[in-house]
Symmetry: C2
Subunit: 328 residues, 2 copies
């Protein structure tokens, strides 16, 4: 009997992954001449006035995916706003106004909403953000979609595309096992650090939501450079350091919400200045920016034995379907 | 045997309803002095520059609620953006930049996203809106959360609170059975009409998403006035006029996405001017604004036999649980 005719496997959300879907649409999305940074960076940036650009970002937090059922809802509310604020931090931008779309089963007790808004409100007040609206609708599981608008001085936003040969690569905080330690709920968005970096001189910056390996690749691709990571230098969280293969977790776990950024070679005093400004925030040099390279590349080195770093970041669609890992 | 001790019924999202939840939080939300209009109107408005205020709005579209499974996804995408643009229309504002949070099952074919973005993109291009980002995540049913930012001349936004005694009440288009006729998917957001009304002189305006009765009550409450509706004057859609009790549908069905607004008594030439500017858009006088009245009131009149209009609008949580009506 002849073989059945071959059919190409049908592309799905799972097979394309979140980034595949974004790539699929990025070029076809309706544009405007005032859009300075569109889909593909941490936030969108549009021209508004001579003094300031408008910065826009939305992020979801889904039950069973970004938090487990039974989690204290104040911490869930805090995370929902915190994820967006972390994106603002990576641009060196100031978040100002937020909208919250809440999805919940009809039988959800009103106290659940109280707790969510308490968590959102506490973090919003801490950073001077007003909650100016949103919507509530019925769904099978709890979800929050937080949108935030804010500002950055005109033309000053830090971008993924600004890494230059000769820069060094740095990261705030310590990485890995954020989901297990609870830090993925309680992390402090690095807004002050981000604004300080931007004021010291525009540079490449990205926040670590998907895992260091994945974010290094974003930086390399968007800047068109070779990055060389020194894996021994990667700062490990306490929970991570206790694991059998800590560097794998630090590279792949995601949800650290720290900043990965570059420092230009002429800024010799950077480390001391950062320590003075933020004595409570660890800041570690983890690699260098090599030469310009179309398409980008990340090497796990240093030295002649360096090999290409597997991307291994967390993808919101790919993880569960291709590896069977537990959701987060 | 004694009765079991009485316990107060526990408040849930269903028992409070969408508006009850909003009332619960409105006062406690974090604020900023630059917020001109916060939660509770069609859009939020914040001060940005001397020339323009920034306008912000988000709206969800949920499968099984705002559209049925099997609906052409281009129309679903169009509706998702259209709902938000209709809110901008009601303020007389110009939408400029949109973000789309998409939730979908992992096995969703990539063509579904193509169709959604085609629908969003076509309407966005028609109104000069750029899609500048968003997020994609996994969930049980299809959802779109569209966020939009735009502008209105400083201090000129039309609000629910601007109805004044002596004004007349008007509505664009014709109402009722929008879900059955398919108009809830294909409606044209009244952006040009809204901008024209705002330029002619600031006034009260609201878009008809929840049903005329419900929106009349919003207007009455937020303005603190008595409204008198002439039910015989309400313009009925063709699908609605064929029903046994058409006025009940026109008052309660919702999802018309037309504009309900006031005209001041000194604007005698209004009807002719509107007809000249928008020959394709019906515009009907349906009532009057009576005297100032704390708390607001809507009468179904006219004449001495007028009675209080039941609110009967559509509430996203209350409908299915309290009346057993089919979802929309």
């Amino acid at each position: 009997m002849p073989d059945a005719p071959a059919t190409a496997p049908r592309a799905t959300f799972a097979s394309l992954g979140e980034r595949g879907l974004i790539r699929r649409f990025r070029a076809a999305l309706p544009a405007r001449p005032d859009v300075l940074v569109g889909a593909g960076d941490d936030c969108a940036v549009v021209a508004w006035s001579d003094a300031e650009d408008l910065v826009l970002k939305s992020d979801p937090v889904m039950e069973g995916h970004h938090f487990l059922p039974g989690t204290d809802l104040r911490r869930v509310g805090r995370k929902a706003l915190g994820r967006v604020l972390s994106d603002f931090a990576s641009m060196g931008a100031e978040p100002r106004w937020a909208l919250v779309d809440l999805v919940a089963p009809a039988e959800t007790p009103a106290e659940a909403a109280d707790a969510l808004y308490e968590g959102i409100g506490a973090l919003a007040r801490e950073h001077g953000v007003a909650v100016v609206g949103g919507d509530t609708s019925r769904g099978d599981a709890l979800e929050l979609h937080v949108f935030c608008a804010g500002a950055v001085p005109h033309g000053a936003a830090m971008l993924r595309s600004l890494a230059r040969p000769g820069d060094s690569l740095w990261v705030t905080g310590s990485l890995g096992r954020s989901f297990e330690s609870g830090r993925h709920l309680d992390f402090p968005p690095r807004l002050r650090e981000g604004a300080w970096l931007r004021e010291r001189g525009r540079r490449a910056c990205i926040d670590l939501s998907d895992g260091l390996a994945s974010e290094l690749w974003h930086l390399a691709r968007e800047s068109g450079v070779r990055l060389v990571l020194d894996p021994a230098a990667v700062p490990l969280s306490e929970t991570c350091a206790a694991m059998p293969d800590p560097i794998a977790h630090a590279l792949g776990d995601g949800e650290d919400f720290e900043l990965l950024f570059t420092v230009p070679p002429d800024d010799a005093g950077f480390a001391d200045a950062f320590r003075l400004a933020f004595p409570g925030t660890r800041c570690t040099r983890i690699g260098t920016v090599g030469e310009t390279l179309a398409g980008g590349l990340v090497l796990c080195g240093p030295g002649p034995g360096a090999r290409e770093l597997p991307q291994g970041g967390f993808d919101h669609f790919e993880t569960a379907t291709t590896t069977g890992e537990s959701e987060r």
